[in-house]
Subunit: 334 residues, 2 copies
């Protein structure tokens, strides 16, 4: 597949370089590690630090969410690969304002290992208190009895958003962790893949799929889904995704949700809004009201085709956190 790149070995470094050049008022690279980026905005002493991260190729996630109202720093991995502990630790040291740091990332073995090692080093060597929230919103990736095995996908955006707001509100470390875990607990996603992406270094497609096929529950890195079949009309796809979410979460008429229809990379906004249209109809039929809507590319997989639907069930505290303004290079909310 065609790519606008130079040497495939350098794509992440060159992306970071371009990103810092474009947004130096928001973000800077630490001199101690080129994969450790932290906010360039003023942060008050005593604020809990929010550290996010994961593999590259998911932009705007993760570096695009460092700024006012969301994360304070990000550790950047290779494409679809976890960052190593070193940049995570450097970011931790840089963003700790005496109140500790919360790590928020998706439920992947590599991330758990590397963030886990960094947390231990931060505690033992740096005396920084670190807590961890692992996002596991992908309904398709494990049955309800094994919820803790589920992967993190687009729902990570909601958890970052809520945690960032809580830290801004002045919540302490335990309270930020509590609300971030509540956000994760109340969030469910279901995705559908239509076309693969390819990694710059191999050029190979991330998964195999037929000309007229879709794959329900496909993971962000091409992990197998739960069902492959003929591509159905958008309304039927939305029906399936939302139904699987509603069957999985305790929700009833009168409840409020936030909705995210997330594009995986190459899906036109037109199609995302056609999906949103049906999502709204279904929720309406169930008496569930939409408090806030997000439609666009929030967590992508390079140029993968397809989308996911995420619902976060809201209480007053989560709604207030969602309303909090954000100013990041790749996401702004007023």
């Amino acid at each position: 597949m065609k790519k606008l790149i130079n040497d495939p070995k350098n794509v992440v470094e060159e992306m970071i370089d371009g990103y810092i050049k474009a947004h130096s008022d928001f973000i800077k690279q630490l001199p101690t590690h080129n994969r450790a980026l932290v906010t360039n905005r003023e942060t008050r002493d005593g604020k809990v630090g929010i550290l996010i991260g994961g593999g590259s190729g998911h932009e705007p996630a993760f570096m695009g969410y460092v700024g006012d109202g969301m994360a304070d720093g990000v550790a950047v991995g290779n494409i679809f690969a976890s960052p190593s502990p070193a940049p995570i630790l450097e970011v931790t040291k840089a963003i700790d304002k005496g109140a500790g740091v919360v790590y928020i990332y998706g439920n992947y073995a590599g991330d758990i290992m590397n963030f886990g090692m960094a947390a231990e080093m931060a505690d033992l060597e740096e005396n920084i208190k670190v807590e961890t929230v692992i996002v596991s919103d992908d309904v398709a990736s494990a049955p309800k009895e094994e919820e803790d095995k589920r992967r993190g996908i687009a729902g990570e955006f909601f958890v970052f958003k809520v945690a960032g707001a809580a830290a801004d509100f002045g919540y302490n470390l335990d309270e930020v962790v509590r609300i971030a875990k509540k956000a994760n607990k109340n969030t469910r996603s279901m995705g559908v893949g239509l076309t693969p992406c390819s990694l710059p270094q191999t050029g190979k497609p991330s998964f195999e799929i037929g000309e007229n096929e879709m794959e329900i529950g496909l993971g962000h890195h091409g992990e197998p889904g739960i069902e492959k079949g003929v591509l159905e009309p958008a309304d039927r796809v939305a029906d399936r995704l939302v139904q699987d979410i509603l069957s999985d979460i305790e929700i009833s008429s009168g409840d409020k949700v936030a909705v995210l229809v997330n594009g995986l990379g190459s899906t036109p906004k037109m199609e995302l809004y056609i999906i949103f249209r049906r999502v709204e109809e279904i929720l309406n039929e169930h008496g569930i009201s939409i408090y806030r809507s997000y439609v666009g590319d929030y967590i992508t997989s390079l140029e993968m085709g397809g989308c996911s639907v995420t619902l976060m069930k809201l209480d007053a505290e989560l709604a207030k956190a969602l309303d909090h303004p954000v100013n990041c290079p790749m996401f702004v909310q007023r």
Copy 2:
């Protein structure tokens, strides 16, 4: 090509429906015409109205730019086709606050005809003063001697941004037209196409291109470019695009510009930042400083692959207009 749609005949209506449902706090459909959308925010009497529009399939353009600080209304065409005069006229009537309305759109024959007819009707039948600014930023689409034949591409975003700010500042009709024309005069774009998109109703690719080819100067609707050749490394592509712009515009060391690296639809953000990285280097070598950077999907062509680079040369007035905050569903600036 695979699409998440229902009946291809209904894609525009269903997109609008989803869009209005997602963003009813920002935008509403006029009861008089389903392709006529206007801001749902309070607009003060005496403000000049900003009306934009064009074909669908370019989202966020054009409906995504209706809101605070940019456009007051949009007329929505079929995919890659101009809106008819009827919705343009309805939007004009709805957004006129007694100070007249400025139409801003790209330099395409269909748009010129339809917006022209609507302007005439607004004047003769409704007694509303309408002025027009036609955007023509695409350097590749005609030689310098025939600048007025050039197409409008991603530079339209800058002209919308500047005009919207000026109207907010309280500029009168003539002054909004003056600054919008200055924005257009100071703006140049060059694009490169890598992969085609396909129209939902035909399923046919918008242009033909080889497996390892790129096309410099390709238009937003697949209009032929100026050179087809082997896909080069990103830095060489950026060199070519920026060089063609710099040769076309009077600019020298010490000048300030705004930069937009615009994705055409399926190009990962990673690649756009790799392009931006080189654009910044070249401008730096020329002693040209970047005042503001925009990197992302601002004016797309469904799932087309490729990007464009846009420079707008700034004076103090244009810089101030760029700085003005915006709150639209698909573009927010604080």
